[in-house]
């Protein structure tokens, strides 16, 4: 039998005004197991806490019930109080007689009656409480960042600055991501490469950062603080340690007709290539789909010209396994395919381009050397039509995305402005549904495009693009002007919606991190925990969590790093002790609990049990990893044999509360 002390708080007049505290403490004193019951003006005050501690010692209490404000206010306080007096903190229960009683009832009799019942329920529960000890698990002091775009680079740099080693896994031959392909950045119009490439170099030179380029995450095991990750280092057929990045091989390779993905296929590269001049690491990679040597065994030009002897046609993929304490997803985004939107004639004319392609066409390192020329005939375009919201804000069918891609309004204003600035002889039309410019200096930027650069902003949509005789006949609505417009354009630029990278979905499965219906990672709380995944130890950086521009991405990347640093700076993690546990004698090994667990905290093991007549029975039973379990209790209800229970909220405890309330 427990020895329970009951402490009824007046909370000044907050409780005492509508609850007869004396009556409550008197009534609860008669409850079985209660050896002490009192009331006091402010239980949370130092004097109140001292009283609790003294009573615990004097009466040898094994359980404490505090009838006071909500447990969300002072549960932690009273737990600490009791712990100091030598009582297990989980032997404390709070009866919420303020928020859920005194404050909502005017009649003192009613309030008193209810407070007594709530007190009884808490006493009934505490009878069944058991001391709980929070487990500890060690933390591997290394972080993994998946994705080497600006988000991943920033997160890695910030973690490395705090003194923790970080690995960046990037699937492409170089880090840098989408930002390397962007020409200028809004709203300042500074050159993207000028601000990004120094960061890439910083990442490469930071001794705490290890860049695993041309690599992919193969599998993830473990839990917060203790992840084991297998990484596939794809064969690049070039020894990274030997290659000096001189680029001679990329000039001599006879296979010249490989679409250059860095320029989105607007020009060609060789079969052995360095994606761009500032690539990090600056080493060559052989594309096995195009290399004549790898395909037919005849060629070997690159090997002959390489003075460093770095070419290795026999290289194989390599699997490496590493331990991490925290994982950051920074897998980024891609523009969606324009296949389903051929009313804009994207497949029919090379002069209809996506905005990212337009970035390359404007970029000094792009296929045209920064001179805006039509891909079809290399002539200078005079009339340009920009179409916004292509595939964004659709109603969720197969075609398009239901969300706003967020960045298009601003980059389109940027494109329009840059075009007009560089080529004052052009006519630039922007078709918009809404111009969305929330952000510092964003609306001012858009207004400049209209007022100073004379960009024609037209509220309406383009309905059809017809390529004919070297022109693009654009049919569009001008809703404010009340007319249908027919524009003979030279180029049409589509602001394609952005979507999470395709690698995010399988990665989320590996991480047991949740995703929304659009394959963006879900955050632990949409407002208050925006950079954490609900899965402990997994953090989110950049556009993999939702559409973002560069400043937002960098801010979030830094925030994710701060969270990672907070985790890695601990030697041990204290786990929530209110976790599920399975009674192995009752478990029938059905896997029902494993299937509902959102955290992958439940595994099954084969275990030997003593059977009758000195036999041994091997049975499959559930095991809960207390470091991973978050204590939601989904498994306890799924368990058909009643083997699974939740500490701190056990079946027996909740039933006891039900009984006390219904009595």
């Amino acid at each position: 039998m427990q020895k329970i002390g009951v402490f009824v708080c007046w909370c000044g007049s907050n409780i005492a005004a509508t609850v007869d505290v004396q009556a409550v403490s008197d009534a609860l004193a008669k409850e079985p197991g209660v050896v002490f019951s009192t009331n006091y003006q402010y239980m949370c005050s130092q004097a109140g806490q001292d009283m609790i501690q003294d009573t615990i010692k004097e009466y040898g209490l094994t359980g404490v019930v505090v009838c006071s404000c909500s447990p969300r206010m002072h549960e932690a306080t009273f737990r600490k109080t009791c712990e100091k007096a030598g009582l297990n903190p989980y032997m404390v229960e709070i009866a919420n007689i303020r928020e859920q009683c005194s404050w909502i009832h005017k009649d003192k009799e009613t309030g008193t009656e209810k407070a007594i019942i709530l007190g009884r329920a808490a006493i009934a529960k505490v009878h069944l409480n058991a001391p709980l000890t929070a487990g500890q698990s060690p933390v591997t002091k290394r972080a993994l960042v998946i994705g080497g775009g600006i988000a991943g680079i920033q997160t890695a740099l910030d973690i490395a600055e705090a003194g923790f080693p970080v690995d960046i896994v990037e699937t492409k031959p170089t880090i840098g991501g989408k930002m390397t392909q962007i020409d200028k950045t809004f709203p300042t119009l500074d050159c993207a490469a000028c601000i990004l490439t120094p960061k890439m170099v910083d990442a490469a030179q930071n001794e705490n950062i290890n860049i695993l380029s041309y690599s992919e995450v193969e599998s993830v095991k473990g839990f917060v603080g203790n992840f084991t990750v297998t990484i596939r280092r794809k064969a690049r057929y070039v020894d990274e340690t030997k290659c000096t990045g001189c680029g001679l091989c990329t000039e001599k390779c006879p296979q010249k007709k490989v679409p250059n993905e860095f320029n989105l296929g607007l020009d060609n590269r060789r079969a052995i290539y360095i994606p761009f001049a500032q690539a990090v690491p600056k080493v060559a990679t052989i594309d096995p789909n195009y290399c004549t040597m790898l395909k037919t065994g005849k060629c070997g030009v690159c090997s002959k010209v390489c003075t460093a002897g770095a070419i290795d046609y026999k290289q194989q993929d390599e699997l490496i396994e590493r331990e991490y304490g925290a994982i950051v997803a920074a897998t980024g985004f891609n523009p969606i395919s324009m296949d389903k939107f051929d009313e804009f004639a994207y497949s029919q004319s090379p002069d209809v381009v996506t905005s990212l392609e337009f970035e390359r066409l404007m970029n000094a390192a792009g296929p045209t050397g920064g001179t805006l020329l039509r891909p079809s005939d290399g002539t200078h375009p005079h009339t340009l039509v920009f179409v916004q919201c292509v595939g964004s804000r659709c109603d969720g069918g197969e075609k398009g995305k239901p969300y706003c891609s967020k960045i298009c309004c601003m980059y389109t204003a940027k494109h329009a402005m840059l075009t007009r600035e560089k080529y004052p002889d052009t006519d630039v039309y922007v078709f918009y549904i809404d111009v969305r410019t929330p952000g510092k200096n964003f609306d001012e930027f858009y207004r400049r495009a209209v007022e100073e650069y004379g960009v024609h902003y037209i509220k309406g949509m383009v309905g059809k693009v017809v390529p004919e005789n070297g022109k693009l006949k654009v049919q569009a609505s001008d809703l404010l002007g009340g007319q249908q417009l027919h524009i003979d354009a030279d180029m049409v630029v589509l602001a394609a919606a952005i979507e999470p990278d395709k690698s995010a979905r399988p990665l989320a499965t590996m991480l047991t991190a949740s995703m929304d219906t659009n394959d963006f990672f879900t955050e632990a709380h949409p407002k208050l925990r925006p950079v954490e995944s609900p899965t402990a130890g997994v953090f989110l950086s950049g556009a993999c969590q939702g559409p973002k521009d560069i400043p937002d991405t960098v801010a979030q990347a830094g925030a994710a790093a701060a969270k990672v640093i907070g985790l890695l700076s601990k030697d041990q993690l204290t786990c929530n002790p209110c976790v599920a546990n399975s009674n192995e004698l009752m478990c029938n090994g059905c896997s029902a609990c494993e299937k509902v667990c959102p955290y992958g905290a439940i595994t099954y093991i084969d275990k030997d049990f003593r059977g009758p007549n000195r036999t041994t029975l091997r049975r499959r039973v559930a095991q809960v990893n207390p470091a991973v379990c978050q204590g939601c209790g989904a498994c306890t209800v799924a368990c058909p044999s009643g083997a699974m229970d939740l500490k701190g909220f056990s079946n027996a405890q909740i039933m006891a509360e039900v009984d006390a309330i219904c009595k």
Binding site: W103, H105, T110, A121, L646, V658, D659
Partner: protein, 145 residues
Amino acid sequence: MQVNQEFKPTIVAFCCNWCSYAGADLSGTNRLQYPANVKIIRIPCSCRLNPMFILRAFQRGADGVILCGCHPGDCHYTTGNYYARRRMTLLFSMLDFLGIERERTRVEWVSAAEGAKFAATMNEFVETVTKLGENKRLEDLRCKS
């Protein structure tokens, strides 16, 4: 003798720790009244609610049981309230079978910001159950001599 003894139903409310319990606290903070018949039991997540608890409540004389959880999609544990919703759907059909009026059991999504909704829901639920009158007590016949 029974003139003043108007029927006061016993109502058990299960509230998830993250949204609805906080919503209930908020309705207290805002001094929004609802009847004292409602007694709240805190559970970590709506998915912790074993349908057995509801049957137990009806067995012990509850006249109504309400489960409150985070709005779909907002669950602290990501998917818990979806499990709860499905389990409750099954339980409803069992309660139908047992002959307990559908209106005595309810699921509501109340966020931590919806103090007013919590109070309104409770007022309405108590009213509904009061109209239905006393529940017939589920009994375990094995326990009877």
